[in-house]
């Protein structure tokens, strides 16, 4: 129990796991993580982030489930399942890309700054 908080701290720094979770005694150490997600489509080898289309309900629900897990597990949880569902839902695309954005409180500027990670899933 004495060692676990050290591991939890390391995990929150390297994998962006949620310090508020997993019994590391780190609640109220940083603002609760804010995780957002965007999905793009690949056409002609380029990612189009701006294309809007109606998202099937199961995909939307999986998106919310992914956000919950991503908020907790950080980079340890990739959106593979979500991407698989998106590829199945939009068969005309060459692939999909998922951008995961965490808003973190920067210590120097005391402002919220984005930390992005983009996952590309070609068909």
């Amino acid at each position: 129990m004495a060692v676990w908080p050290l591991f939890q701290y390391a995990a929150s720094v390297y994998w962006e796991t949620n310090p508020w979770k997993f019994f590391g005694w780190a609640m109220y150490t940083v603002p609760p993580p804010q995780v957002q997600m965007g999905m793009g489509e690949i056409h002609g080898g380029q990612i189009d982030w701006d294309r809007r289309r109606e998202v099937p309900r199961p995909l939307l629900e999986e998106g919310f489930r992914f956000l919950d897990r991503r908020t907790a597990y950080g980079r340890l949880h990739a959106p593979d399942e979500l991407a698989g569902m998106a590829l199945a839902a939009f068969p005309e695309t060459e692939g999909v890309a998922i951008r995961v954005r965490s808003l973190v409180l920067n210590r120097e500027s005391a402002r919220l700054v984005p930390r992005d990670q983009v996952y590309v899933y070609p068909r």
């Binding site: 005694w25 780190a26 907790a72």
Partner: protein
């Protein structure tokens, strides 16, 4: 006719035999008094723990809609039965083992969103499953609880310093801006700055979450400093009484903002294990009454107020 030395050693004469143990209330100074106090403290801890968790579980059933409500209800019913056994001291050990397994199921059901004190409750119930009739084993459990409190407080303080959002009060400013629970900090911050923080919207570049307020800076920095110093005070016998009073006051102060009141009760019950004399026994009805009050509020039987 001569007896061997080993026979003599195995059958001590009347003068070597220890007197039978006295009931706790009658025990004066001496080894029995120590054992009685130990047992009293162990009983106070375990009974209070059982009441806190039972009230918390029923409170969750009352408050939470939808998400695994049936599971919460089943856990609350079964835990209440186990808590009754723990509180009455009958089948307490197997009941605590069952309670620990039950709380572990509840923790697993809500992963990864399980609250941190779910883990603490599983561990405490597991600790309570250890002791048998031997007072030394009860002492071991109380030492384990004390160690958990020490580790928890120090780890919490070090992590606050390591993440670095307390030196300039950034974390508290963020919470003051976006979490109404932290409005209690408003008097520490100049009014225009409070208005500015409240007007901030979470988004890229939002901030700065920093204000020109010495009182807020003091509170912010005192938080992690106390979380490291108080456990050290609890470890030093001469400082223990003062450190205990300060630690309880500290938990109360935190809960004024955080309002995770069952967790606060759990922490105070853990801290009281450091107390001497019958303080833990005396505090037990207060903590139990507080948790029953919180449950009554959750059930809508009593009016809600700011800190409930």
């Amino acid at each position: 006719m001569g007896m061997s030395a080993s026979t003599i050693a195995l059958e001590p004469g009347p003068r070597l035999r220890e007197p039978p143990p006295l009931p706790g209330a009658l025990a004066g100074p001496g080894p029995n008094a120590g054992a009685a106090l130990l047992h009293e403290k162990f009983t106070a801890f375990s009974r209070t723990f059982a009441v806190i968790v039972a009230c918390e579980l029923w409170s969750e059933v009352a408050r939470v809609e939808g998400m695994l409500r049936g599971t919460r209800f089943a856990v609350a019913v079964l835990f209440t039965a186990a808590a009754a056994a723990i509180a009455m001291g009958r089948w307490a050990r197997p009941a605590a083992a069952f309670a620990s397994a039950l709380l572990a199921v509840r923790l697993a059901c809500f992963l990864p969103l399980s609250a941190n004190h779910y883990y603490l409750e599983v561990i405490y119930a597991f600790f309570l499953a250890i002791p048998a009739a031997d007072p030394r084993e009860e002492d071991l459990v109380l030492k384990a609880v004390r160690s958990t409190v020490i580790v928890g407080l120090i780890a919490s303080g070090i992590q606050k310093a390591a993440h670095g959002c307390y030196f300039g009060g950034e974390f508290l400013c963020f919470m003051l801006a976006h979490d109404p629970r932290f409005d209690v900090l408003s008097p520490l911050v100049p009014a225009p700055e409070v208005l500015r923080l409240h007007a901030l919207e979470k988004g890229i570049g939002a901030g700065p979450y920093r204000v020109d307020s010495v009182p807020l800076l003091i509170v912010s920095n005192l938080t992690y400093v106390l979380e490291v110093l108080l456990p050290i005070g609890l470890l030093v016998p001469r400082l223990r009484r003062v450190a205990l009073a300060a630690a309880v006051a500290f938990v109360v102060a935190i809960e004024v903002a955080a309002r995770e009141l069952f967790f606060g009760a759990l922490m105070i019950n853990s801290l009281l294990v450091f107390s001497r004399g019958g303080l833990h026994r005396k505090a037990m009805p207060l903590l139990a009454a507080f948790c029953i009050y919180l449950l009554a509020v959750s059930l809508g039987l009593l009016p809600r107020w700011r800190f409930s």
